[in-house]
Every structure is written in C-alpha cells, then in structure tokens.
C-alpha cells in the first residue's frame, strides 16, 4: 500500500442537507469505523463482505452521535484502491462535524483537495485524462457541459489529433533521416505529400479552435442580458425563469441598481441571466452607474432580452438598441401582455412582428421564450455531434500547435534548411502531444488535482 495514513472528508456539499456522506480511505478505515460503529445486528464491519451496507449507530463512548448507514468498499476494489468506508449520516452540520471530529481524534487526517482521486490515480484506478474528466464531471452542472466532459473522457477529438500527430511524426523522421544521411543517397520525404498533411492539420486545428468559443460558453453558461425600462418587469421575468425570489422585486422604478446574475438550465443548457438596471435618461448618480454597467453587460452577452410594457410604444428605443448593438441577437419581449385586449395584441403584432407577447406574471409566453433562446444559441451546433473543445488547456495547446504548423509551412515556402524546419515540427508535435497525453507536462499535473473539491 502506497500510503500508511487514513484520510477523511465530507463527500457531499458542506452545509445542511437531508443526508451527508463522510468518506474515509486508508489502511485503518474499516478498523477505526468499526471501533465506533454499533450495528443493529451486532455485526463487526471487519468480517463483512466488500460492497455491503450496514445500519447502525456511530458512538463516541457511550454517547450516540447519529443513526447511520455504513458502506464498506475493501481495497483494491474501491474508488481509491484502498479500504474505503462511506458513512451516510443525517445532514445537520453539527452531526457532520461531530462524526468527522471523532475520526480525526481516532487518527484520521483531513483529506486535501482531490486527494481521494489522487490516491485512485496513484493506485492505478484511473489514468490522468480520466482524472481530469472526473474534475470536469463534478463541475459540470448542465447537460451540455456534462456531455462535453463525457466526450472528453471517451477520447473525443484526441483520437483525431493522435492520428495526425502520427503522420507528422512520420514525416519528421523522414526529414531527420534526410539530414543525418545527407552524404548518402537515400530517398526522402515527399514535399507535396508533406504540404498536403500540413494543410489537413491546419484545417482540423482551426475547426477545433473555433469550437472552443461554443464549448467554453456551454461550460460557463450562455450570458443573456435582460434590458428594459425600470419597472417593466425584468425582475419578475427573471424570477419566473428562475422560479425563485432571487432578484429584488418592488413597484418603485429603479430598485435594481446593480446587475444581478443567476443561472438557469433550459433544455440541458446553462444560461446566465443578467438583470440590469433599466436604460433611461436619469439624473440619479447611482442609477447612471447602473445604466453604464448595463451597457457593459450587453456587450458581453450573447443574447439580449429587450423587455417593454406591451401597452407602450417603444419602437424608437428598440431601433436605438438595435443600432447600438447591430451584431447582437436581440429578443424583443412585450411584457404585461395580460393587460392588452385581442385587438391591441393584433395591432402590436402588426407594428412589431418580431415581438414576443409575454406575461412574466402569469407565465404566458415563457415556454416560447425558452425555446427561442435554445434555438438562437446552441441548437444545431450541439445536435449534429460536432466535436467541441471546452478545456482551456486543450485550447491553448491547439493554438500553439497551429502557430508552429504555420511556421513549418512558411519555412517550407521560403526554402528554410530542414534542420530549422525540424525545430518547428518538434514544437508542433509537442503541443499536439500535450492534448493526446503523449508528452508529459509537469505543470499540468499540479493543476489537475487542485481542481477538485475536498472529498473527491
């Protein structure tokens, strides 16, 4: 066994919940839990089979801390490859702390970030790319980012890169051969084929690099700004979408002085809604700052929701916004549509065909808004199974690889001596290898395990 200490940590999020899971891993895990566990069937954990669950009490001396379920995973058939015990106790923070304290006193050590996965890695339970994907999986909170993480775990585009890298490596060896045997008459690398390969690599790299923007957005959430006059119901709309009271709602115009953000998953995709202070002429200094911020947020948003009161004429303002941000996708929403009668609705539709009639209060039109948002952003791009780069480390390596490949091509163009071209080829191979895991990068290792929360 690699480690002789036993580590403990809370595996569920800290805070109160229905239940909490405390994970213990190491050579003494079973023995130490056994010492404080009283099974309702008077069983000893040490004699129980692996992968079994037992009901009983955690006792600190005579004192009972909680009624718990204890799961046993005996090494090497556990997550970490060591003996692992998971205690499911009640979710009160007091109980969690009491149980953890108890085992710290017993000799356990508090686990560091990612230490359970680190042990799993070092005990051969998973390889590095899997470990990296585990970190991404834990962090993924929407269906889309989850899919990307899974795709990465299965290999994703790394296979494609690997094949191209092999071909490039092949040419690199031919060029080396040419150099070392320049005194002898041996046959060499075909320049036309080589250029062809360079072009193919360039194409693939460019495609992957372009996909990063989308991949990143999916991982981080798509930013959507909600803009409109004060008291038009932006907060109400946000709350309706969020389905909880997060923004401040009142009838006094200008209550939302700062931007408030929240995330909501629609159809498996995370959207980051940004409620902004309304845009209007004002003398209020604080509100002016809020309006300035609103413009900044619009700049960063991928979609803008322009909200106005269905009964008011806002054609000029809409035009203004559209002119100020000509490349933004702006959804025009006529809120408080519940106050209009049928003919008013028809007339509005005639004047402003792109407007979506909405009632944030009653929920009318919400479904249509959600669908439109999905259509505007990710539909089509996600659906056709395109490869998407979401990992910024991969993105960085792709950029560097492309830069080197471009240099190789330039070198070939100006007839640069192949020993110098070879330097750029080696660099390109290195960066492609970073993606496929064919070269070791020590900086990367440090990152991977620090990306975990404690308890994993």
């Amino acid at each position: 066994m690699l480690y002789d200490d036993t580590i403990i940590a809370l595996a569920t999020p800290s805070g109160m919940g229905a239940i909490a899971v405390i994970r213990i891993s190491g050579p003494q895990a079973i023995e130490w839990v056994d010492a404080h566990f009283q099974s309702i069937h008077k069983k000893r954990l040490a004699t129980q089979k692996s992968h079994t669950i037992h009901l009983g009490y955690i006792k600190d001396g005579d004192k009972t801390l909680d009624q718990v379920l204890v799961s046993i995973f005996k090494g090497p058939n556990s997550y970490t490859g060591e003996h692992v015990i998971e205690i499911s106790c009640h979710g009160s923070m007091y109980i969690q702390q009491q149980v953890i304290q108890l085992f710290l006193k017993k000799g356990c050590r508090m686990a560091t970030e990612g230490e359970f996965t680190l042990r799993a890695f070092l005990n051969g339970k998973m390889d590095l790319s899997q470990a990296e994907a585990v970190a991404d999986l834990i962090a993924s909170d929407s269906k889309a980012s989850h899919e990307i993480a899974l795709q990465q775990m299965r290999g994703g585009f790394s296979n494609q890169i690997q094949e191209l890298r092999e071909e490039l490596l092949n040419f690199a060896s031919l060029i080396e051969l040419e150099l070392d045997f320049s005194e002898e008459d041996v046959e060499f690398a075909d320049r036309t084929q080589f250029l062809n390969l360079l072009n193919r690599i360039t194409e693939v790299l460019k495609g992957l690099i372009d996909s990063f923007a989308l991949g990143n957005v999916l991982k981080e959430g798509i930013p959507v700004a909600i803009v409109g006059e004060p008291n038009v119901g932006k907060s109400t709309l946000l709350n309706a979408l969020l389905n909880e009271e997060r923004a401040i709602v009142s009838d006094i115009p200008g209550t939302t002085r700062d931007t408030v953000e929240d995330q909501i998953a629609i159809g498996g995709v995370t959207f980051r809604f940004i409620d902004t202070a309304g845009i209007r002429e004002t003398e209020d200094h604080v509100e002016k700052i809020g309006i300035q911020r609103a413009f900044e947020k619009i700049e960063k948003a991928q979609v803008v929701l322009y909200l106005f009161e269905a009964g008011k004429d806002k054609l000029a303002e809409i035009k203004l916004l559209q002119d100020k941000f000509p490349h933004k996708r702006i959804l025009v929403l006529a809120n408080k549509a519940e106050n209009l009668n049928e003919s008013e609705k028809t007339s509005l539709k005639e004047r402003l065909p792109e407007a979506l009639l909405l009632s944030a209060k009653t929920g009318t039109g919400l479904k249509e808004l959600q669908d439109t948002l999905l259509d505007l952003t990710v539909k089509g791009q996600l659906g056709n199974n395109n490869t998407i780069v979401s990992n910024s480390r991969h993105y960085d390596s792709l950029l560097k690889a492309l830069e080197e490949i471009t240099k190789v091509k330039e070198g070939m163009d100006i007839g640069l001596s192949s020993d110098l071209v070879a330097i750029d080829i080696r660099e390109a191979l290195y960066h492609l290898g970073e993606i496929t895991g064919q070269v070791t990068n020590d900086e990367l290792l440090g990152n991977i395990f620090s990306n975990f929360c404690i308890g994993k």
Binding site: M1, L2, P76, G81, L118, F121, L122, N123, G124, K125, D127, L128, E176, L177, L179, D180, F181, S182, E183, E184, D185, I414, L416, S417, S418, D419, L420, I423, R426, E427, G433, G437, Q438, V439, T440, D442, L445, G446, F449
Partner: protein, 622 residues
C-alpha cells in the same frame, strides 16, 4: 615487475583507450596503458577519416574538453571538408581524411609526451576484484598489476571472430589475435554480455585504379580544422574519388550469397544498420541499380586505398571479381580483403552516467565494449571514463555532461538509459537540442567545464573567453549600429532581396535569409570594425550564427530549460517501484533495471510511457 599501484589502468589502446589514458594522466593520475600490441596504438581499424555528421561535432567537443582526438586528426589530416554548409549551422559538420599511419604515430607520440603515462604490452586476461571493487588486472603471463581503477576499452577484441566467406578465425582485427578470458570473468561476476558484428571493406593498390573515369571529391577550398588550439591548417590536400557499383557488380556479388556468413546463418549477431555491407545494401534495396563508392587515399605517400561503401564479408574471390567490374577498378589489385568481425559487448544499461559499472566499483567501460560503433563515439567515451576514473580515485564529484550540453552527454545518456541492440552510432537527430550543440560553439559550451576539472589548459580557456567576448561585442555592434538605405540597397538588390526605404539596425537586415557575413563585410563600417578589433574568422562565424539563427537558438534554449526542470526532479536511490501500482508492469521492470537518477532520464527509457512519468511526477511531487 609491477610493484606500483596505479591510479588508473587502461586496457586497450584504440581511440577510447588512448583518450582515457591521456585524460586520467593529464588530470594527475598515475596511469598505465596495457595493450596487446604497442605498435597499434591509435589504430584506425576502418575508414581513414575522422568526423562527419554529428561525429565532427563530437571531435570538437573532445578537443574543447582537453582531449587529443582533434589535435591528432589535424596533424594527420590530408583533406578537410565542412559538410552540410548549405544547411542550418546545427548541421555543419567537420570531417578530415587522414593519413592512417601518421594518425597512429601522432597518438603514440602524444601519449609518450604526456607525463604520468606508463606503457606495457601484453594481453589482459582478467580483473582483480575485491569486495565488489576493481583493484587491478591479471595478464596472460600471470602478472598481477594493481590499480585503484580499471578502464576496459577492448574494442572488437573480446572473443573476436573474423569471417571471410565460409572461412572464420579468431582475431580482434585482421592480422591480430583476439582477447580471451575477460568476457568469461565478467559474466561470472554477474555481467550480461552479448554479441555484435561489424565489417570493413577491402583495401586496394591505388596504382591499379583508373581515376580518370571517377569523379574527384576535393577538400574545401578554405580548409578549416578540428582543434581550437593552434594546430596548423592544411595548405595542400589529397582528393578522394567517387564511382558507382552497377547491376553487373550486384549480380556478381549475388553469386556468392550462398557462401556469405551473413546469409547462411553463420553470423547471428546484429551489425550496424546505418553502415551496411554491400551485400546488405543490394539485398535490402533491391530496386536500386547502383550504389556510391568513395575511393579514399590512406595517406600522403602510401599507394594503399580504402574502398568506402564496399564493406563485405563475402568470399575474397567474390569480392575481387565484383570489384573488378566497378568503373575504374577493372585492373584492381587487392592489398587486403574485406571482412566481418563478431565480438562481445556488454549492454551499457549496466553502467552509470560516469561509465562506471553498477556491479563493480571503480571499473569503467568505454567504446565498442558498450555496443557503440565509430572512432568518435569510442574516443569520447574513453575521455569520459578516463576523467571519471581519475575523479573517483581522488574522491571528487563525478563529471557528467547533460543532453543539452554536448553530444557526448546525449551519447552516454542514451547508452545507459536505453541500451542498444545494434552498434550505436551518433546522429544529429539523437540530440533534442542540436541547434545548441554545434561544432562552432563546442569550446564555449565545454572548455570552462574541462578547465574546471583540470583537463583543459588555461590557454584553451583564454582562447574561449576571447572568442566569447569578441563575438558578443560584435553581435551588439550589429544590434546598435544603423545602416543607410543607400549603402545597403545595392547589396540587397544583387541578392534579389526586397529593398529598404528607411534606416534601421544592421541586425535586422543581417537576419534576412540570403544575407551573410560576406555581404555585411562589404559595408565599410563593418569591415572597419573587424580590422580595428583584429577579429579572426572564428569570431566572424560565431557572430554570424548568433545573429542569423538567434530565434531558433532562443527557442531551443527555452525547450532545453523545460527538460532541465524534469532533470531537477531526482528519484531517490533504491526507490520501490513495485508499490506504484499505476505504473505499467513493463515500466516497473525497466525502471528497476535502469535505476534512473532523474524523472527526465526515466522518461527516456523505452517502455516507460508519458502516463508512467505522470505517475512518478505526481508521486514525487507531493
């Protein structure tokens, strides 16, 4: 006869042995060179040439450290060529053709002039080993010679077996007997041994050749030399010649294949793939209807000629008949037939970076005994073994060169880390950072290191420091001095390079692909600077490279620094790989066997994958 206890006993007097003895003695060790035939010290067993691609760089490195190979080569040179001058500076490779007899003579005389070297002619038949430590050697006459360290440089002599056609006989070289006893004793001590094969072409009478139908291969019009010291440059040179084999020659050779020891299974060991025999070439490249042959004079005065490219172990009558069909060889007379030789070697993974064996303390191996081929490879190992034997005896830190520091570093690290299945030859592609390991800067890289251990002389250090300062000043001159469009445009126009509109620094225009130092010297301000500062050609070349290739040199330096980081992560001695379950089985076995000192070395072991290295890094990085 031998009461004295030597500091270093060197067994063998070839390129490795001679360098080992010279280095140890020059550093102050009392040294004994024992060899079977004192007539044959510094013998060139194969081609009469030193250097070549990657190898020329090694000769310069040996010279920069204070070894003798460069001086001996310069003194016996009959032709000089800088190969690959049209490529980048990493590829520029010096090569000399040498007078075989003078080469050996120069070595013998230099060693005789070296204080602390004793000589003795006899066959060493065994080692004296006490408590796992070498304490001397035994000879075939039964003498015991005491030494605090022993360097074995046995070349092809250990159980050497010569093949010509179906005939075979014991021998370490044509006309010399094999050495017996040492292999058996080393195997008993626990060493693993193997067999390798190499070969050499026929030597012929130059008077019987018709050079008028061959293509002359003259030396450079401005010949340079190897040594950074003040050896003389050639004023006259001898030409080599090129001719080709033909379909007819190949057919004649094929007739003898059934009597070839290579093809009838008599030779089982592996030969150098990169230096194949002629029968190997026509067999492996069956679609080629001709191969090059270089006709190389063996010296200034001798009529003997070396037939490069025609290495063979076919029966002598087949060799003769086939060679007679080569253009210009119609009336050829043989001096000596070509032959193949099989010999024992010891897989070099049994060595440390100092070339000391892991199994027996104070015992060092250098040269073909480690599975290498080539004079330069042998000489550099001899140098390193001699240096480290001395340092070990005098209780000083070992002398190890890194991979980004010298081809010698690459060579030793490759050998002890990867081992070798076939005779190991140096290539520029074996060096990750060849742009840093150039022939022009071997002194800048290594002379300070050689001086530090007391091998390179003060004269060498002074020369190097002068060169370093003058070139860096000259580079600054180009960085700080501006040109006028008027003075530079005529030059650019002649070069078909785009013209400049406004004044800029000289460095910028000098960096352009077609612009060379010669063009720069056409500017008065540049030529004046050179005259005023008495700059010699070394400095001009160094400056030119540093200006024109600065981007690439910088890039390689950055990459080398990455390697250095992994080089800095040491693996504890006796590290228990068995407990790291996430290492592949193969990696665990290999790591246990090689015992790498650093993560970087571990990463170069075949069978150890990047994933395995990640495991080690994560584990050691905790």
């Amino acid at each position: 006869m031998f009461d004295k206890e030597y500091d270093v006993i060197v067994v063998g007097g070839g390129h490795a042995g001679a360098e080992a003895a010279a280095a140890a003695a020059n550093m102050g060790s009392s040294t004994l060179l024992v060899t079977m035939n004192l007539q044959n010290i510094g013998q060139m067993s194969c081609n009469p040439a030193m250097g070549g691609i990657a190898k020329g760089q090694i000769v310069r490195e040996i010279d920069a450290l204070g070894g003798y190979s460069g001086i001996v080569s310069d003194r016996s040179a009959i032709q000089f060529k800088m190969l690959n001058k049209s490529k980048g500076p990493a590829m520029w490779s010096p090569r000399t053709q040498n007078d075989r007899m003078r080469f050996a003579e120069e070595w013998r005389l230099l060693l005789e002039q070296t204080p602390n070297v004793d000589f003795y002619q006899e066959m060493v038949s065994g080692l004296l080993v006490e408590n796992g430590k070498a304490v001397g050697v035994k000879t075939s006459l039964g003498l015991k010679i005491k030494g605090k360290s022993v360097v074995l440089t046995n070349g092809t002599f250990l159980n050497g077996l010569i093949h010509i056609g179906e005939k075979q006989f014991g021998g370490g070289r044509a006309g010399e007997s094999a050495a017996t006893g040492i292999t058996e004793e080393l195997v008993q001590l626990g060493f693993e041994s193997g067999r390798m094969k190499t070969g050499t072409p026929p030597r012929v009478d130059g008077r019987s050749l018709d050079y008028s139908v061959m293509i002359p291969q003259p030396g450079d019009s401005k010949p340079e030399k190897f040594s950074y010291l003040d050896t003389h440059k050639l004023t006259t040179q001898r030409d080599c010649y090129m001719t080709h084999t033909s379909e007819l020659v190949h057919d004649l050779l094929r007739e003898g294949f059934d009597r070839s020891p290579m093809f009838n299974g008599r030779i089982k060991s592996l030969g150098p793939r990169y230096c194949p025999s002629i029968e190997d070439k026509i067999n492996r490249f069956a679609d080629k209807d001709r191969h090059q042959i270089f006709v190389e004079p063996e010296g200034w005065n001798t009529v003997e000629v070396y037939v490069n490219g025609f290495s063979t172990s076919l029966p002598e009558d087949v060799q003769f008949k086939a060679l007679r069909s080569v253009k210009g060889f119609e009336n050829v007379k043989f001096f000596r037939a070509g032959y193949a030789i099989e010999y024992d070697y010891f897989p070099p993974t049994q060595l440390k970076h100092t070339l000391e064996t892991k199994l027996v303390d104070n015992l060092f191996f250098a040269g073909q005994i480690n599975g290498t081929t080539g004079y330069e490879e042998a000489a550099s190992q001899g140098l390193m073994a001699g240096i480290n034997a001395h340092l070990k005896v005098y209780d000083q830190d070992p002398f190890i060169l890194n991979r980004d520091e010298a081809y010698i570093g690459v060579l030793v690290d490759d050998l002890i880390t990867k081992g070798t299945e076939e005779p190991y030859r140096m290539f520029t592609s074996r060096a990750e950072y060849r742009t840093l390991l150039r022939q022009d800067n071997a002194d800048l890289r290594l002379t300070p290191r050689g001086y530090e251990i007391g091998l390179a002389s003060e004269e060498r250090l002074k020369n190097m420091e002068r060169k370093e300062k003058e070139s860096s000043d000259f580079v600054s001159f180009f960085k700080n001095t501006s040109f006028n469009p008027d003075e530079i445009n005529p030059i650019l126009e002649r070069l078909d390079s785009s013209l400049v509109k406004q004044s800029d620094k000289l460095f910028k225009v000098f960096s352009r692909p077609k612009v060379t130092m010669d063009h720069m010297l056409q500017l008065d301000k540049v030529s004046e600077y050179v005259t005023e500062n008495y700059l010699n050609t070394d400095v001009l070349e160094q400056t030119e490279i540093q200006v024109k290739y600065s981007g690439y040199i910088e890039k390689e330096k950055n990459n080398a620094d990455k390697l250095l980081r992994l080089e800095g992560i040491k693996i504890p001695k006796n590290f228990d790989y068995a407990k790291l379950k996430s290492l592949s089985f193969e990696a665990r076995e290999k790591l246990k066997e090689i015992e790498p000192v650093t993560i970087s070395q571990a990463s170069r072991i075949s069978g150890v994958s990047p994933a395995d290295i990640s495991v080690l890094l994560v584990h050691l990085g905790r």
